[in-house]
Symmetry: C2
Subunit: 463 residues, 2 copies
Amino acid sequence: MNKLFDRRKFIKSSALAGASLAASSIGLSESILKPFTSENDKTKAKLLRVGMIGTGLRGRSLLGVLLKREDCELIAIADPDPAAVEATNKLCQDHGKKIPVSYSNGNYDYQNLLNKEKLDTVIIASPWEWHTQQAIEVMKKGIYTGLEVCGAFSLDECWRLVNTFEETGTHLFFLENVCYRRDVLAILRMVREGMFGELIHLEGGYQHDLREVKFNNGKQPYGGGVEFGEKGMSEARWRTKNSLCRNGDLYPTHDTGPCMKWLDINRGNRFTHLVSMSSKSKGLHEYIVKNGGSDHPNAKLEWKLGDVVTTLIQTSRGEKVLLSHDTNLPRPYSLGFRVQGTKGIWMDVNESLLLEGITKPHEWTPAKDFLEKYDHPLWKKFEHKAIGAGHGGMDYFVVHAFVESAKRKQAAVIDVYDAATMMSITPLSEQSISFGSAPVPFPDFTRGKWMNWKPDFGMGEDF
Amino acid sequence: MNKLFDRRKFIKSSALAGASLAASSIGLSESILKPFTSENDKTKAKLLRVGMIGTGLRGRSLLGVLLKREDCELIAIADPDPAAVEATNKLCQDHGKKIPVSYSNGNYDYQNLLNKEKLDTVIIASPWEWHTQQAIEVMKKGIYTGLEVCGAFSLDECWRLVNTFEETGTHLFFLENVCYRRDVLAILRMVREGMFGELIHLEGGYQHDLREVKFNNGKQPYGGGVEFGEKGMSEARWRTKNSLCRNGDLYPTHDTGPCMKWLDINRGNRFTHLVSMSSKSKGLHEYIVKNGGSDHPNAKLEWKLGDVVTTLIQTSRGEKVLLSHDTNLPRPYSLGFRVQGTKGIWMDVNESLLLEGITKPHEWTPAKDFLEKYDHPLWKKFEHKAIGAGHGGMDYFVVHAFVESAKRKQAAVIDVYDAATMMSITPLSEQSISFGSAPVPFPDFTRGKWMNWKPDFGMGEDF
């Protein structure tokens, strides 16, 4: 394989090509391929020194997994909210772990964390609008970066993440947990074993009634009122204004991530273009009127986010992906996955499948037995550890993969190119909708390297 | 209401405005509002004289319903295939009915049927490419027209149907049977009673593994070989070439029809524009290779129809509709309906719903009890007659509505504007796909009259 196109090695070449940084300063050498620990020297293994920026509910949920591990040490945290710091400290105590150094003197105190602490890795779980800036600063420090998911505000952001990685050689792991959902991984095995034939059409959706996340009473994180922004609490403080001001697929990663892994996106395949269409926006207004009265000031607001935004994505191999963003209406939670190929189809909403020559033709068969039979080795191996971790155990796996990758200082299996691709769906869908559902092209964030890269997700025995 | 915009009366005005036809010659008067029969003079009722053009499997399936009725008499049939005529005659004998006059001297012998027979109504169930021409000829004869469903080949066709109706005043009933599916009608009741709140997002699909319809051995209608066209039988003779030559939503009516009725399309609402995206085409080629071998001449063909074509439609009221056309792959039959509004959601693939304030929040509840509770009065009334009719009973209802409308010579509840709208989706989706999923506008086939027309489908007690 051409050196330039080897995912792990090309960084060296491209970094050397960049005048601003010397290879030595960014720690690039063949040693990045060498595991940080191995079976033989586990006892000598030093602890991974972890920092976290943003310790709200999501950050603490990840910490709940991390603090159970014996190979990590939470050194420092940054969050401008004293309550978040306090809750984090309590969480550490509850786990019998040291209280981390805390940086909570305003929004930019995380920079002091980066300057003062000696860290192997930093996890970013701050509000969306801070993700890119903070990830770039962490990467520039040469600290292995774990980035919580979000959609981007502009394509420029996505390019800056990619460029920073290519300039610094610091790896970024995009913490898309649903890629590790048990059925998602079982279906990945089935896809790779050809059970569905050649893939044709995939679906996914972030279909989650978030009305009690977007609004609360300022005293509890979920519901109890119709406040947001300054008067809201937790996510309602920062997330909700996106629904007020923007119309697009605002949160595309939980559905797109698995589809990308099934389709080898950025590893032999890529997204070429999309179209998005939005319904009208009625759900949030109705919710406010019903729960806060028509006289409540928020009842006057005009919400931009269509209640259901649908996006169609074409791939270079000719498959297509259908995404739904559906967070303003009463509905059951459903990621609505569908994997369909020339030999079969699986849907998660009815937990059923059809496999030609295996199950009865023209009929749905319960997927359960197949999902068990094709259970991924990682789930078999780590199920006992995943029990109790957030989101049905998937949080264990994404944290585990991140930590093991960081220990080995090796390329992320959900990397900065995947982050840029997933995050770009948000501004691209906004553009498409604003132009009356016109098709808009995906940038090729890999600059052509996707043609040579090979699938690497879910391949290893360890993570 | 402005006379011009009354569905039943405007015909008179517009016909009078047209110089080519005198009002008297097309039988337009207030009498079209008067029932052909009433409860009081049933005994005097003359039989509805029916002709049928196209007596293949679909035509005979409709006849199976029609011949059971005591208010209809099958006078004449036209089909160039002697076997179809023979089978029809046998069907009539089996029902104890008279053998109809038959016209089978080539493709155009139906014109002799129209010229020689005295008919009240003609049902057209010929191959798609004959629909428009034949419907126009029937309408021009002033014969109440029943048209089997299909997609159009061009927008011009759709306009010609509308223009012919407006010039002749002859009603056309578009025989979209799924509008009468039991759950579809129950959901219509629930929609009208506000159970789903304001509608936001709808889905439907023609998701039907047609590989054994598209290919057979020339001796049986379904499967047994990989032949089509001249060497095929039944639908494979004429339908399959559309998959070879065209890429779009080739058969949009079974999913669109119910969505149009739920959304009051052409009656207070209209489709404004659509985008379509197609996957690659692999399913039919794989089927041929698997069942006919890679040396079979048909294995060399390049099929244009993408295996899954997805279409997004926007409405003037701001809802959107997602349609799937999925006929080349192994899969269970599913029309994939979803009705979602500000107060709830129903999906047919998992036969479940959520209704805010009624069912448990954030959870699917089986739809069964609600579908029974909101069973449509027509189903309650005619269930005993519908048993055994094609497609789960819905064929009984569409034939019943057609016959009763024809007897009364009154406007169809699935009319020529609905036909034009549904049929236009095919060429519009082809256009969108050929322009890389660009948005394309729907013509307003009502020329603005949709703003004044009111819903009329499923409102009556009789049909």
